[in-house]
Amino acid sequence: MQLSILLLVAVAGGALVFTRVADRQAVGVSFFGLTLTLMFFIFQAPDVALSEIVIGAVALPLMVLLAIAKVRVAEMEQRENREKETARKKENEDAHGGQGAQHEQASIQEQRQQAEGA
């Protein structure tokens, strides 16, 4: 019994280490907390098991998930801002480029007029 729960903890912990995606890690840490709870219970520490199940299996994954959500939102906002900025720059450039073209056309016309006049 004790050996099998230790093995389960080892497998769950190992799998968690090799998980690279953050949301999956949050779910995995919850499962790992559950196996730790079982381990504490089997090793006759029910007080620690109670703490572990509320902190490790509920509170910690929740905080991790909320933090991930927060980071994603911040990233999204940053990307939106960047896109807006690049769009604005493009518009400015277009407007500027358009004026340049008009200038060119005007100068070409002037040149033509001058040539005709001459």
Partner: protein, 255 residues
């Protein structure tokens, strides 16, 4: 070029680590040998001298009460720190977009989820209170029960919406409750000084000896456990509120 080098260092290091680890474990005394005098003494004295049946809670809140005071203030300070960090941002964001749209969920909770979760809220609160006040009799106590209590508003958030969660949790008295919980622990310790004992000595009436141990026995242990429960529950609710507010409000404002 650098990669194989790094791998060699890692393999050598971990091999040495494993060897030392196994060596250290081979020298460990057996399970029976670990049980020293302290454990025996606590087990022998906690029923007779403290009128409690849960030795772990007796150690936490009485024999080693001062250590737990430190632990509680670690939690208190970390909650405060998180709130200060998150609120600063909140105020700045609030000025920028005063008409931030109320956050909407992508998926509305189904009726099954709502009925089940709302039905679970009452029992969760009851179970949390039970774990807090039975700390000296059965496994549990202020820390564990406090976190269980704090999950009740979370169930409300899951079943309803952030608005309802806000209405339940955004009261000023939750902050007051956290401060009172943390302060009460220190204050109970001070009571002992006035009676002429050392700080955090168990000076409250332990209950009549010879009768069956019940809920009101244990002197300062139930009071400290209740104070801790209040502090932990309020602290976690504040933390959840700040995190949810921060995440959802900025999401609503971004769109």
């Amino acid at each position: 070029m650098r990669h194989p080098m790094r791998l060699t260092v890692f393999v050598l290091g971990s091999a040495a680590m494993i060897a030392l680890y196994v060596l250290a474990f081979a020298r460990l005394p057996g399970q029976e040998a670990v049980r020293g005098q302290y454990l025996k003494l606590v087990n022998l004295t906690c029923v007779g001298l403290r009128h409690t049946t849960d030795a772990v809670t007796a150690v936490n809140f009485d024999y080693r009460g001062f250590d737990t005071l430190g632990e509680e203030f670690i939690l208190f300070v970390s909650v405060m720190g998180t709130l200060v960090l998150l609120r600063q941002h909140e105020e700045k964001g609030g000025e920028k977009r005063p008409d931030a749209a109320e956050p909407q969920r992508a998926v509305e909770p189904s009726d099954t989820l709502r009925v089940w979760t709302l039905g679970m809220t009452g029992p969760t609160v009851l179970f949390g209170i039970y774990v807090v006040i039975h700390g000296q009799l059965t496994p549990g106590g202020g820390f564990q029960g406090g976190v269980i209590l704090a999950t009740a508003p979370l169930l409300i958030y899951l079943a309803e919406s952030f608005d309802v969660f806000k209405r339940v949790t955004s009261h000023r008295w939750i902050e007051v409750a956290e401060a009172v919980g943390a302060g009460a622990y220190a204050a109970i310790g001070l009571v002992a000084l006035f009676v002429g004992h050392e700080y955090l000595a168990n000076v409250f009436p332990l209950g009549p000896s010879g009768s069956n141990i019940n809920l009101y026995f244990g002197g300062t242990i139930p009071s400290i456990s209740a104070a801790t429960g209040l502090e932990v529950a309020a602290g976690f609710v504040l933390l959840l509120y700040a995190f949810l507010q921060e995440t959802l409000a900025s999401k609503g404002g971004g769109k």
